[in-house]
Structure formats: C-alpha cells, structure tokens
Amino acid sequence: MKVNVCIGSACHLRGSYSVINALQELVKDNKLEDQVEICAVFCLGHCTQAVSVQIDGGEIESVSPDNVYEFFDMHILQRLNA
C-alpha cells in the first residue's frame, strides 16, 4: 500500500510533518513496514482541505494531526485487513 502525504505549502502549514511522523510511527508500531509505504508529494490539488492524504491513488482524504490515528485505523488498517 502506498500512502501519499502532501507536503505542499498549504498542507505543510497545517501540519504535514506531524501527520507523516504519526503515520510513520503507527506503521512501525503495527509492524507494517513491508506493507505500507509513506511517501511525500508536492500538492495533491486539494489545498483547501489540508493535510491531503491519498491511498493507492484513490480518493483524497483530509487528515489533521488530531485525527491521524482515526484515519490510520479507518483507512489503512481496515483496508489491509479487508
């Protein structure tokens, strides 16, 4: 699974770093390093809904440093377990 996290200006200002950092840790904690790749991209084109995150080229989700754990459970874990 490839998770793109936007590090463009708008997302950067709203906490890309915290989101990426949290996702990296969650991946590590859940020992998913071989299955999940977190990548940085410059702009997913949804600047008003920052921080933009996209899984495997799918829909663009809006994630904040506050709801990143929820996002990980809902979108990453569930999808991997499906």
Partner: protein
Amino acid sequence: MRLFDTNVQQLKYSVLKEVVRLAREDKLEDSYYEIPRTIIPGPKATMRCCIYRERAIVEERVKIARGGDRSNENVVEVIDSACDECPVNRYSVTDTCRGCIAHRCESVCPAGAISFDKNQKAKIDPEKCLECGRCMKVCPYNAITESQRPCVRGCKAKAIVIDENKKAKIDEKKCVSCGACVYQCPFGAIVDKSCVVDIVNLLKESENGKKFKVYAAIAPAIVSQFTYAKIGQIVSGIKKLGFHSVIEVALGADIVASMEAKELAEKEFLTSSCCPAFVKYIEINFPKMVDKISHNVSPMVAIAQLIKKTDKNAKVVFIGPCIAKKAEVKLDKAKDYVDYVLTFEELQAMFDGYDVDVENLPEDVLNNASYYGRIFARSGGVAEAVEHVIGRDGLDFHLKAERCDGLDECKVALLKASRGKLDANFIEGMACEGGCIGGAACLQHGPKNRSDVDKYGKLALEANIDESLRILNCFTDNKGEK
C-alpha cells in the same frame, strides 16, 4: 506604477508578452512577423532614427524571445543592429581644454599618449593610452572626461570586446552568463534568450496536470519583486497559468546549507556552488581552484531533484531573477532535473500574455522552507545558513567566511585564496551585487530588497533548517531512502 527599472526592460517584456500571447493562441508561426508592427505602431519613431529600424530591431528581439540563435551556446546574445556603437575611447579631451602652457596632462601621462594641436589643445592617442586616468585628475579645467561603454563597465568578467565595426561582442571564452550587460546596456542590445514558448507548450501538453504535472520552483528573491501584489497572489497567478504546484527553491537551499556545512567540515576549505556565474568564473579564471568548489548542487537543482523524487513524471520550471541559471540548466548536473528557466521578467510577460490579473486574485500560500533557506537570496545568506548548521550539528569546525558581493569581490578573494593568503575557509561568491536580489532579470532593483528578504525569511513557518528538513528526514527511516 512602474513595473520595471528601465524602458529597455519594458520593451523586452512587451515582445515576450506578444510572443507568449500568440504561442498560447497557437498563432505564433503564422503571426510572429506582425509583432514588430504591434509594438512599433508608428507613425513616429520613439526610440531610434525611424520606425523601420525600430521594427527591424524588434524582429531580432522576437527571434531571441523564441529561443534565439540555436547554434550559439551562450544564453546571452548581442543584437548587432541594436548596438549603438558607443564611444570606445575611455578618456577624451573636451572643448573645455584651454590649451594652457602647464601641460600637466602631458607630464603625468606614463604612456606618452598626449599631444597638442596648433592651438595647444590636448589630444589623446587611443593607441597609446593605458586608461590610467591620471590626465583627467590633474587637468585644472576638468577638461578630460571618462566614459566607458556601459556593457564593458558592467561586465566584471571582462568578456565584452569591441569588434572591427565598433559593435559589442561577447568573448565566449570569458563570459559567465551573469547577464550584467543585459541589464546595463542602455539600448537593450544584449539580450538573454528565452524559452517562454517551450514553457507555454509544456503547460498546454500537460493539460492542466492530466498528462503530467508542471511544478514551479520559485527563488526566494521573489519577495523583493512584483511589489504590486502579495506573494500569495503571485502563487495563485502561477497556478492560473497551468502550473500544478508552486514550491520554494529555499527548501533546496536548506538542503544545500545542510550538506555544505558537512562538506566544509570535512574538506576545511570550500567555495560556494549556488551561484552558477561564480562557479563558471572560477572555472575560467582560476582553474587550479576548481577542486575547491563545493560538490553540492545548487538549491535550484536540489529542489528539482526532490520534486522529481516525489513525482517521476514531473516537469520543473525554475522561476528566478537569474540569467546564469539558463546556462546552468544545460549542464550535466542539472539537465535531468530542471526542465526550463523562467526569469521574473518573463513571468510578468506570461501573466500578461495569459491575461492573468494577479492583483485581483485570492492569496494562496507559499511555505516550504526555513528562514535560512530564504536568505540565500541576498549576499551573506549562504554563509549565515552554513554557520547555523555547523552550530546546530555541533560540527568540529570554526567557520571563517569571506562574503563576496559581486564578481569584483569574488575576484579579490579568489586571487588571495589561490596564493594561500586568504584569511578565511569558506568563500561565499555571488556574481550579482547584493546577491540574487540584484539579479539581472529582476523587475526592479532597490535599496529595500535586502531588508525585504530578511523580513520574508522571518515569516517562514520553520525557524531553522532542522525544522524544514525534518519532513524529508522522515523518509530516511522508511526503506532507507530520502
């Protein structure tokens, strides 16, 4: 409000704008020959002897705006017909000469270049004159004047020669493509070649990011430019042109500063490598010092590498104040990463050629880099950033930087360094005076530009380089790739 410092820039811009407009409408091939008439409607000449000459010169400008002479490698070209053949002799005697008896000019001249006519009025033999200026200083009537061609005076690389027809000619072996002559020539006879047409076509082919994405990497000197609008509006404007995203080159500068500090601590002496004209100047004039040039790529290349790492199909256009960057992108170390260079002058032409009303656009955001990356735009910024990294990383190295503002200062430092007489271990070289904010393709050059850069630096979300680069370092843990 005046957009440019001079009417020469205005003229260059008008041509570029027309070329962009026609290219955008797919009419360039059919209608480019109409541009001279559009720009010089007549019936009266406003710049030269007649509208026919004015139009003939505009025709040449159109060629250069479309890429210029492809057989000539240099990104800077002379338009022969536009060169006004300014006087070549540096010192000349004016009518103020009284034909005195003292003849101080004669006695002080070391070359025996001064003679007198039957009225005892002085004359300088240009063949003998060494251009020392002593005669001018001693004349009690201030009857001797100095004049130098602006292109010659402006070219610190001494690359302008005068050909047998008294036209300016570029000595390709010496030219560092800094573009000083382009900005200095009062007749606009020296021009930088443009790739606006390629960029217009690239944006078209990208189909608004559907086929591939075009990224604008914008140099931090932007802050002192486009003063009629906010930076956020410029970002919106660039996206309106069809660019997918606008990214600060200053983030590339953060990367460079961090690498440069490490390389410096290891090698103990370096010259900076961000200014392509400075690098070229060393290669031409101090070949023995080439191994002292930092091996780091420039911030432009660093940011482009990063962009292409995140998006393999990305196309990158660097937008900045610099003409030498147009030469840098042709080099092996840059050509795979940066696709095109657009100057600030050309960006303004793009906006107007696309009818983008920047002033009335909403503000977008631009924030990728730290304070230190942003101050690369002014002289002293690179050294300051490197010093910051050395301190933060606790590197065992005491930085002694020689900040060289302009090629003349670079030359002095390099001369000293080549003889082991420079009391410094890092030469920060910037070919343009003031640094990039003094770049030849800036719209305006003003005294406030430097403080503007510092103010803008402080607005960065990230105060220091660790903070701006941590986002990239996240990816070193994952699969060992940055």
